[in-house]
Amino acid sequence: MLTIVNMIPNAWSDEQNQDCEPNLSVNPANSNQIIGTSFTFDNPAGTSAVSPAMSGNWAPLFYSNDGGETWSLQFVLPSSSGDQLPTWDVTSRYGGNSGEVYSGLITPGSFTILVNRAPDAETQQVQFATVSGDQPFLEAASTSSGGSTQDRLFVGFNQNGTNSTVLVFPDALATTPTFTTNTLDVRWPADMPPTRTAIHQDGTIYCAFYSYDNSGGASPSSKRDVVVVKDLAWGTSATPFSALVDTGDGKVGQRVATGISNPWYNSNFEDPSFGNDRYGPELAIAVDPRNDQRLYVVYATGTTAADEQLQLRRSEDGGQTWSSSLRTVPVAKNPSVAINTLGIVGFAYQQVAGSNWVTMLEVSHDGFVSSFTSHILASTPTNNPTPTGVMATYLGDYIKLESVGRDFYGTFCASNSPVKANFPSGIVYQRNVNWATQTLLGADGVTPVPVSIDPFFFKLHVDTPHISTAIADQGSFGHACLGNFVDETLVVDNRGWGPLHIFKIVSTSPDFEVPSVLSYPLKVLAGVAIDLPIRFRPTTRGFRAGKIEIFSDDPSSPHVVEVSGECPSPRLSLIIADKGSFGDVCVGRLVDRPLLLENSGRCPLTVHGIAATGNFITAEVLSYPLTIAPGTALPLPIRFQPTSPGAHTGTITVSSDDPSGPRTIDVSGRAPTGRLSISGSTSFGGVSACCCADRTLAVCNTGECALHVTGAHFRRRSRHWKLVNNPFPAVLRPGACLPLVIQYRATEKCPRACELLIESDDPQMPVKRMDVLAYTTWDRACREHCEDCHKGCCDKHHGESDCRQGYPCCDEDDEDEDEHGAV
């Protein structure tokens, strides 16, 4: 809510003076008490007929004890009867919690600054310090120590009209206050009039001033720098105001801007091209009460009224570095900046717009980074009243904006022409006025009074927003798999009384994503709720927790919402029958068994590779990875293809994104062999001489796999022994037999054993050795024909032979020899 009040009291309705260059101070201990100053006489018609002149010895102070709704004049500022002005430059400040009222003014009788005080706004002030200089500008704050209160008073001024200087009163409440005089400019001893101070309650004091940038000092051709200095102990450091060293030249005082032109010297005092006012030494500074490193400065650039601009800039590091211009306001003067306890930045100024002076209050919830709200406080003529040149300035060289708590208070001067359209944000006049005829009326309520310049009070009440949020399941998003997301709605409700401005929404965890906002701040009106989508997109597995932080102008900002979610892991289980045993598989054969890759987790399983060792072979996968859905299984054939007989073992290794690592499973198999078994007798007993006898052996494979019988032969060649129709080499299938017939020719004189060798791939008995035994029975006939038999011509006696065992035969010699022919 914005309130604008013309400060001229009703009983002062005859007033027609040029009450310009206002200032204001709110008692921080009681914001109903507000004081203001301007060039206000102790009589309402001082400029009407004769030269301005004081009637008495006390110039008035504007005072309100109802928060600015009504105003009175309190005649408490030292002046002198007959002075042509009530005071020259004047500012007043409440000391802080003490309620003491201080003023700094240039006494009209001489070029002297008086520093005065009184216990309240209604008591005539008493001088307690005096210096020579220009434009005293007071700032003050209270501190407590040892059970007592000290008023820290800072009087910025231009000492002897040349040097930016600050008087520091560590305890202005003392019976006899002491002070130090601190000259601020270490570069050149020539500065412009304004020396502005900003106080942070932790004792950090900033001062801004314009320094002429050469030894030539003040001259039309001079350039100027904007310099900020700092003290960290209420201006009482051992070397005061030297805490900020310029990053360029290494000297005390950071130069915020350099080489600015100096229209101050080139402009007319009341320049028709600048709303009939002068311009140039515009300067303001403010520090964030919540952050002593954050401060704003406003200054003016340009060479003429045509290109003059106010520049608003910010430092976030205690004045060391500065932003580019956050606001550039052309053809404007009287900047004032303040920051409230919510961090809201207020910026007031007066700008020439056509034939009007437009007094603006801009308020930004994001420090003028991206947005602000504008309030037109007044839009009044630049030439009504007609400038007289008496004051050197039309509206004055400053206005004032300050914050107390979250509210902004300020004052400005403007034409009091009673036209409602001049005050689009509303206006209250205490003085008599006929709005219908747009006429000011005197104290009698009848007599018209000429238009003049009046001080106006304004107050922007910042209603407090209050943020409240709601989210399902206490901020638990349930589970989301890696690469997937879950959205939840965060309801942001403003249950306060003022609009809520959200400057930033951040997540402390990358797993929780806040919505993208194209342009902050978000504005939520009182009683209104908005939905903010919050996304849980886990970046890693497991339980994830984070905080959503909402930065706003809620006094308790940031508002924190705790969120959590689960990103489950996939779980690979390997399943294979028979404990991984592939059973018996003959060499050269193969068997496939399915290996089940089961995902027993709640998120998809990604299989990157499968490897097998030994005689086990995995299925060929053309392209990894394989993805297995939660709760499903993928059968993967594993092949056992033994290359050698015997037992075989191997390991199947499956690599996946199961956080427990690769899974392995042992497999085994056996490659059996054929087994040579021979049945039948190799003992012939006695065979009648010259007869042959046969014995048949059954060469069998009693194994499980094929038996390769590579040969059957006698170890030594003998004419007495012979294999008849030797079938070998041959492959015997399991259970198969082949007969092997052994023939004995009974012609040897003496029995001699012979060894039959059967060779196979039976690993247990690659060579089967068998003795074949037979002897020749020399009976009568054989004896008779023995010689023949010996000679091998038994055939001629076959008919005569009596082969009781065997059958008649005849064959070659019976010389023994081995299979290779060796005897």
């Binding site: 009589n43 002149a53 008495g56 220009d134 039309p220 040149g389 008496v390």
Partner: protein
């Protein structure tokens, strides 16, 4: 209590307001204790310009000491002005002394006026014309911003009769010449003029220097209503 006009002059000079008023319309009877009381104003003897009308009716007066109900001549200064005017009483005298009080006011004024008139080479009622600067803007910084203006004379009270003369003075008002009022176009008043300072004369042409006046003090510009009194003080319009 002051018994003679002469004794009342310092009080009359220093008091911003002098008026005849009555205590007695308040809620209590008997003597008014020290404090703020409504006082009905019957006659204004001295008040700043523009405030005469405000004293009609009732004002609040912070009494310096208790006083019986009755009609008095009040000497007072302003304390505050809001919806009403509150004054701080310096003193009050019986209304029977009204004539002495009026005389003291006049005598005090004349006492201040006489030395100014004596020093003046020209006292005249007239109107200030268009004000023009004698220096460029850049030359005004750090020094008195001298300006000049024609002064159309309606009536000469002291000095050589003329229809017009030039005025020099600061414009705007200067901290370096704090008592000298700024030249303001359109001002119609009685000007008590002296020769300008050499600093100002040097900015004028040789021909102009002889007919230039300078109001050195705010008291040197008096409202037209003072014409008769000033004439009387000057001895019926002293002429050269």
């Amino acid at each position: 209590m002051h018994s003679t006009a002469h004794q009342l002059i310092p009080l009359a000079d220093s008091s911003v307001f002098i008026f005849v008023g009555s205590i007695g319309s308040g809620p209590t009877r008997g003597e008014a204790p020290a404090g703020r009381y409504p006082v009905s104003v019957h006659q204004v003897i001295k008040a700043p310009l523009g405030l005469v009308g405000n004293l009609k009716g009732t004002v609040t007066v912070q009494m310096s000491q208790p006083a019986p109900h009755g009609r008095y001549v009040f000497f007072a200064d302003p304390i505050s002005v809001g919806a009403n005017i509150t004054l701080k009483e310096r003193a009050h005298v019986e209304v029977t002394m009204l004539e002495q009080v009026v005389a003291a006011v006049t005598d005090g004024y004349v006492a201040r006026l006489e030395p100014r008139l004596k020093e003046a080479f020209l006292v005249a009622l007239g109107v200030v014309g268009e004000v023009r600067h004698l220096t460029k803007p850049a030359e005004r910084r750090g020094r008195v911003p001298w300006a000049h203006a024609p002064f159309e004379i309606e009536r000469v009270l002291k000095g050589r009769k003329a229809k017009h003369i030039a005025l020099v003075g600061p414009n705007p008002a200067s901290k370096r010449l704090p008592r000298a009022p700024a030249l303001r176009a359109g001002t119609r008043a009685i000007f008590i003029l002296q020769r300008p300072p050499q600093e100002a004369l040097e900015l004028l042409g040789e021909d102009s220097r002889q007919s230039v006046g300078f109001a050195a003090d705010t008291f040197d510009i008096q409202p037209p209503e003072r014409l008769d009194l000033i004439e009387r003080t000057l001895g019926h319009g002293e002429e050269e």
